[in-house]
Structures are given as structure tokens and as C-alpha cells.
């Protein structure tokens, strides 16, 4: 048994905050941690409770240790929180992989395997509450053997802890395993036995939902569904962590609306197919992560040069090279902004979370189709696979607006009339519209040209899109906190989640979150920063890519840079420490 000192007294002040609970579930491959987390989240959503689940794996994606961290709440939550209210762990040694991801507070409830006497690691922190031990494992001659499903026993104990009825769990198990009676029966039996034995487990303050079932979606699913809603009808991709679920969701859902999906032979082929489909007039998209984005780079330039709409989603992971595939980072920004030879216009959008993702996809389609250029949508590992409980999305179908050429329109493919910034797109099949689309520099007619003057004129023509896009998107920003708060922070993408909750308790701060990174909403930023005493940029990038980029579009003298490498996202207490250090350095 544990060699730890006996718990002292319970500190009532350290009780979990009313309104939300954090559960950390840790196990090894085969323990069914992911399924357990899924079921708990589904039960929360069923009761009208909000929440999210972040999964964490060891160095390898499958097998090995895994953890699910859930936060369940009465209202929408935007990050998973810092300290866990419940830690359920089948083997104390499995915790080693999750240093920093799981922390106890003084009143955390720890549920452990009864026969496991390994000590809990120091970094975990200490709870004053006695731990609860339960015999999850089955032993034969002193060796652990296949026994009843541990995750089902854990589910029963968690239901006891949360005050959720067994009948709800039964319904969920029926829904999940109804078509496999043997599995259903085995799971139900394990659940029921643990439920009966679990009367002794301490209950936490009861969280009651509003009773109306809610909707669960990951960032990747939201990107896929947002794209379908916005009118994307062709997708080609290549498997890559952490973006694969975008393709998997589209395989299931795109053909039903008349679209096609191709799992391409490589990342280059995937974007090639996207350009081919879009050249054919069909809104098209690909999705990848950093290594794939590197490979797609040549054709980002081709899309811009040939003025073909294309959407490229990048679920950023820690890089460079293979980096840390399942870990988050915000360091593909430079690549999205600058990569590719030659000068060419493009758009870069950032995704805050799963709810925002659907909206971003509408905007991506609107800009790529409307302006005939590549649009990069940057998500990241933190939100890509995180499952979020949200209100049911509204029916929001869009119709892409690509200006199509028709007989009688200007005779040249790249002709501009008046103050237009795009030329009507010639969709194959339109009589009389035949033209040459080319990556080679070309005249207004589309004919190849090696003239410096033509090159200058066509660059001017293509770059005319950016000021028009900047005007259209000038208010694509979110701000948090009071307008007159003296201290300011700029962040983008998934850090928005933490900041939404963080700023609520810190009225002296305001936050600026651009939804479009390029072209940067400079006017909105300039108006927002008015009256600030101190300003910093926080980002998951060792090279401070957002800070550096902003200094090319606005005055960033004296603005602190709080960039660090990715891996884990930033927590509230870490941010406080980063800000204290940065402000100390600035002499304030």
C-alpha cells in the first residue's frame, strides 16, 4: 500500500469550484481510457452539461499510456483547467508520462487500484482527502490477467462520484454496444458490480445540467462539417497526426451531399487533386499538419499564380521535421505567411476552437472562392482532437460565390473590369471559355510570357486582392475584457480558450484575438491598443512568429514577446508567471 503520510484535514476552501469539475483518467493501452472519457462526456452532454475532453498520449500514438482529461461544467468552458478534482488511475506508474498535465489540489479525490502500492509522484501534488482504492485488476498466480473491463468499473465509480444515475449509464452503454450483445452484457455486468460496491466512494458537489441534450464535436470534425456546410464538395488528403479526423469525417459525410473524397498517395498529390477539382469549378480543400504543409508549398504558389481557389487546413503540431506529432504548437505561422518561392498573395486564418471552426470554414470558402486564391486555415493539435460539448449547431448552409465567366464577358481570362479585383472564373464546360491556366507567368489572356513588364503588371493584378480582402475582413477580430483595461495581450488560435476564462478574473487586462492573421486587421488592432500601459504577445512559438510578423505591419516597439515552444498549451498560472516576469523585465 501507499507509503504516503496519512492525510491531515480537509480544507473546505480548496473544494472544487462550483460550476465545473475536472476529471483526469490515466491508464495504459487496453484499459479503455478513451472510451471511458467518451462515455463520461456523452453522459454529461446528455444531461445538458457542457465540457470538453483532452486526450494525451505517450510518445507513441497507440498503445502505451494514455490520459483523458475532462472538464464538466454548467456553462461553456474554453480550456480544461489546471488542477484536477478527480484523478482515476489504474497504475500509479502510468502517471510518469503526464508530468505537468495532471495536478492535484487539497481536496482532489484520488481513485487508485487497490493492489497497487507504487507511490504517487511528487510533482502530482498532494490531496488532503483520503484516496479511494478499488480492485480493478484481476490476478492469477500474482500476475495481472484479463479480467472484467476496468473502464466499466471506473465508469460506475465516477457516476457515484458525480451523482449521476446508473440508469443513464445503462442507456449510454446500450446506445454504444447495443448491436454487440455479448460485449454489452459483459460491460453492463462489470458496471453493475462496481456500482454496487461504489456506495462508499465519496461524492463531489453535484453538477446538474439543464436537461436538454447537447452536441459533442472535435475541432477536426467541426472543420470537416463547416467545410461541407460552406459548400466544399471535393477533398483530398493524406493521413497525418493530428489532422486525419478531418478526412475521416469527410469520408463519412461528404459523399452524401454529392461530394468526393480521395485519400491521395502523398501530400503533394492531395493538393494537386484539390487544384484540379477547383480548376474544374468545384470548391475544394485539403487538410494536413506541418510536414504535409511543407510538401504542399510549391502548389500554394501555383494556386495563387493560376488564381485557383483552394483551402489548405493545417493542424499545427510541434515541429520542425517530425517534431512531436501529437503535441500542439503555433509555429507554422511563418510557413503559412511566407513559404513558397516568388511573391504571391494568400490568406491566413486562425481557429480558436471547435465552435469557431465551423464559422472559420465559411469564411475560408468565402475568401478563396471570392478572390480566387489559396486560403490557409491554421488549427492546432490542442483543439483538433479535443472533444467539446456545445449547443447544437444551427443549420448554416452557404453557397460559394465564385464569379463565373459567361459568353459575352471579357475575352481574356485575367481581364479586370473597372475596380474589380478578380476576373470571372472560366468553368470547364462553358462554351467559348477555353483558356490556358498556367503556373508559368502569363498575359491577361493566359498566354505564357517571359516579359518583366508583364510579370510586374500581373503581380500588381494578383496583389490587388489583398487590400480588398483587408477591407472585407477588417473586423475579423475578437476582443476580451474591458476596453479601458490598462494591460493588453495579443494571442491567436487555440490560446483564445484559456484567455477567455483567464481575463474574466483579471479586470485589469484586455485581450486582442485576430481571426484573420493575414492580411492582419491593423486598423482594429490600432484602435484596440489605444490607452494601454503595457502590451505583450503570447504564443506557442519559440521564435515568436506572431510578434515578429506583427512588427512588419504595425508599430511593435516596446511590446513584450511571450513566446515559448509548444508541447503543452499554456495554463492560467503559467501565464501569470510569464506576465509577471515580462513586466518585471520591462521595469513595471
Amino acid at each position: 500500500m501507499s507509503t504516503r503520510p496519512e492525510p491531515q484535514t480537509l480544507d473546505p476552501a480548496a473544494a472544487p469550484p462550483a460550476g465545473s469539475l475536472v476529471l483526469s483518467l490515466v491508464g495504459s493501452g487496453g484499459d479503455g481510457i478513451a472510451l471511458l472519457g467518451d462515455l463520461v462526456l456523452a453522459m454529461a452532454a446528455q444531461q445538458g452539461l457542457y465540457g470538453m475532453m483532452v486526450q494525451s498520449y505517450g510518445p507513441q500514438i497507440r498503445g502505451g499510456e494514455s490520459a483523458a482529461i475532462l472538464r464538466i461544467a454548467r456553462e461553456e468552458v474554453h480550456w480544461e483547467g489546471e488542477e484536477t478534482d478527480v484523478l482515476l488511475c489504474f497504475r500509479a506508474r502510468d502517471l510518469a508520462r503526464f508530468a505537468g498535465a495532471v495536478k492535484l489540489h487539497r481536496a482532489s479525490l484520488v481513485v487508485l487500484e487497490a493492489s497497487d502500492d507504487a507511490p504517487l509522484p511528487e510533482w502530482l501534488g498532494r490531496s488532503a482527502r483520503p484516496e479511494f482504492r478499488y480492485p480493478f485488476a484481476t490476478f492469477v498466480d500474482g500476475v495481472e490477467a484479463e479480467g472484467e473491463p476496468k473502464n466499466m468499473m471506473a465508469l460506475a465509480l465516477l457516476c457515484r462520484v458525480l451523482g449521476w444515475p446508473a440508469s443513464l449509464a445503462h442507456r449510454m452503454l446500450e446506445r454504444r454496444f447495443g448491436r454487440r450483445p455479448a460485449v454489452a452484457q459483459r460491460n453492463r455486468a462489470a458496471f453493475d458490480r462496481a456500482w454496487a460496491a461504489g456506495e462508499a466512494v465519496p461524492a463531489l458537489p453535484h453538477l446538474a445540467g439543464h436537461g436538454v441534450p447537447l452536441y459533442i464535436e472535435s475541432g477536426n470534425e467541426a472543420i470537416a462539417r463547416g467545410a461541407i456546410e460552406a459548400g466544399v464538395r471535393f477533398f483530398a488528403g493524406y493521413p497525418i497526426t493530428p489532422a486525419s479526423e478531418i478526412m475521416e469525417t469527410l469520408i463519412d459525410e461528404l459523399p452524401a451531399v454529392g461530394g468526393r473524397v480521395v485519400q491521395a498517395e502523398d501530400e503533394i498529390a492531395a493538393i494537386g487533386m484539390v487544384l484540379g477539382a477547383s480548376f474544374g469549378g468545384v470548391p475544394a480543400m485539403t487538410a494536413t499538419s506541418g510536414p504535409g504543409l511543407s510538401l504542399k508549398t510549391e502548389m500554394m504558389g501555383l494556386a495563387s499564380m493560376a488564381e485557383i481557389p483552394a483551402i489548405i487546413v493545417d493542424c499545427q503540431r510541434a515541429g520542425p521535421a517530425t517534431g512531436m506529432p501529437s503535441r500542439t504548437e503555433q509555429a507554422d505561422l511563418n510557413h503559412a505567411l511566407y513559404a513558397g518561392h516568388g511573391d504571391f498573395p494568400r490568406v491566413v486564418l486562425g481557429v480558436f476552437d471547435a465552435v469557431h471552426a465551423r464559422d472559420v470554414m465559411h469564411r475560408a470558402v468565402r475568401l478563396s472562392e471570392g478572390y480566387q486564391l489559396p486560403v490557409l486555415v491554421l488549427s492546432d493539435a490542442y483543439i483538433a482532437q479535443r472533444r467539446t460539448v456545445r449547443d447544437h449547431p444551427s443549420d448554416n448552409r452557404g453557397q460559394p460565390k465564385r464569379v463565373a465567366w459567361k459568353p459575352g464577358d471579357p475575352p481574356a481570362r485575367f481581364h479586370l473590369t473597372g475596380d474589380q479585383v478578380v476576373s470571372p472564373f472560366r468553368i470547364p464546360g462553358t462554351p467559348g471559355g477555353q483558356y490556358l491556366s498556367a503556373g508559368i507567368e502569363h498575359t491577361l489572356e493566359g498566354y505564357p510570357s517571359a516579359s518583366g513588364e508583364v510579370h510586374q503588371m500581373m503581380n500588381e493584378k494578383r496583389f490587388r486582392k489583398l487590400p480588398a480582402i483587408a477591407r472585407e475582413t477588417r473586423d475579423w477580430v475578437r476582443t476580451l475584457g474591458r476596453d479601458d483595461a490598462p494591460f493588453g495581450l495579443v494571442a491567436w488560435g487555440s490560446l483564445s480558450g484559456l484567455l477567455r476564462e483567464w481575463v474574466r478574473e483579471r479586470p485589469e487586462w484586455r485581450v486582442f484575438l485576430p481571426e484573420i492573421i493575414h492580411p492582419f486587421p491593423v486598423e482594429a488592432f490600432t484602435a484596440w491598443r489605444e490607452g494601454l500601459q503595457w502590451l505583450g504577445v503570447v504564443e506557442l512559438s519559440f521564435g515568436a512568429q506572431l510578434h515578429r510578423y506583427m512588427s512588419t505591419v504595425t508599430d511593435m516597439r516596446g511590446v513584450a514577446s511571450l513566446g515559448r515552444s509548444g508541447g503543452m498549451s499554456i495554463t492560467a498560472s503559467e501565464l501569470d508567471r510569464m506576465l509577471a516576469a515580462a513586466r518585471k523585465e520591462a521595469g513595471r
Partner: protein, 284 residues
Amino acid sequence: MTMKAKDYRSALEPVWCTGCGNFGVLKGMTQALADLEVPQERFAVVSGIGCSSRLAGYTKSYSFNSVHGRALPIATGLKLARPELTVVVAGGDGDGFSIGVGHIPHTVRRNVDLTYCVLDNGIYGLTKGQASPTTDPEFKRERGLAGIEERPINPILLMLASGAGFVARTHAGNLPHVRQMIREGIQYPGFAFVHILAACITYQKPEYAQRIWERCEMLPADHDATSFEAAIGAARRERFQLGVIYRRPPEDRPAVATELEGAEVGVWPPVGATSAPPEFPGED
């Protein structure tokens, strides 16, 4: 409406050298299109980069002269998105068999209805005469080109091994035959490969061109194009066999990828499952 070959020619004058085999390909292709009366607005040519890839611009079509080596994936996207189009892919041996070779087996096993015409002159002409994957080792030795020890690939074997359902070879100097092979390739329902031999007028000597021409012979009259074994035999012969080397009978599964149902790989919904184009976007 009777179509003529010149109806498929754009206003652009080819930049090819006088005497280049590409003229034969362009002529034969436009003749084949006229034979089939393919509507101009439903015709698309996708190409990569190289002398022969310039062909896209010389056809009156929705053509796309893209980047080096990527014509096949781009054409795949176009054809899958707009199945009612006739899509021809044009390119050279460097574009197709070197930088873009990775796309060949996958495009073949996906069996998208494309006609892939490769003008193979065994040289990088646009970049002034480097060795390509099909350059003869003897020629490399004579000219001091890189990779003397590297043997040329056999494009016909490559296509057959990948499971292509239609494999033909012709020579750019035999115009009626080029026309016939491209026409049959377009007519074939599925991925079709037309290998077009030629020489480079600028970077190869006339004797070399003569050697290639003399190495060609028509397939024997009794060649059974529906036999995979006969096709492999023809592909391995020392002399270049011209004609339809392999035409998979409709009832046969792909010769290599036999485990694949109908050869639709990684495409949802499967190729051929629907002939209707996706919901068409555009103006209100």
C-alpha cells in the same frame, strides 16, 4: 457538326524546335479529338513542365500547364470533380517517369478515366540535354551525361505492373498511328497510357533518332492484347513494339491489384458509382 483537327488548336504558335516530335503528338491528338467529335468546351488537357507539357497551351481546351511532375494528381482531381469532361494528360519522360513517377501506380490503381500521353525522347530538352530515366546508357556514355550505370526504366512494364487497363505505344513520326493510339486511349473507359517514342532534334544526333525509329516494329498481327502475359512479353522485347499492347477485357479485374474491387482505390464514392457531377457551385 463535323469537327476538324484545327478546331482543337489554340492561337498560340508552338515554341518547339523545327522537326520536334511534339508536333506529331499535337497533330495526332487533335486529329483523334476530331475523329471522336469531343466538344471543345468539355475537353481538358493537364500537363506538368517540360517541352511536351507545353502542348496544353496549343490545344483549344480548358487546359492547365501546372508544375513539374504533378499533372496526374491535378488531372485526377479535375476528372473526379467533373466526370463529364474528356481529360488528357500530356507530358514527357522527365516529368512523368522521374519527378512525377510516384503518382503513376496510384493514378493507375485508382483507374480514373484519363488518357496519359507521354512523349518519350529520353532527354531533358527544356533544360538543355540532361539524361532522363529512359536515356540509353550508351548515349549517356557518349555524351558524358550523369548516371551511366543507371539502366533506363521500361515505361510499358511499369504501367502493366501497376495494373493499367490500356497500354499502347507509338512513334511520333507515324502520324496515323499516333492518331489511332490516342483515339483508342480516349475511348477506353478507365486509365489509358499512350507511350509515344520520339527523338530530340536538338540534343540528339540524327543517327540516334534513326536508331530509335529502326528499333520500332508493329506488334505481330496475332498479338493478343487481352492477354496480360502476351503484353508482358511484348514489353520485354528488345525492339519497341508499337500498337495496343494491352487492353484489359472489361470482365477482368486489374492484373496486379486483384484484391481491389473494380480498382477504385481510396475514392469515396467509388469511381463509376455516379456519373453525375457534384452539386454545381457558382452564381445564384
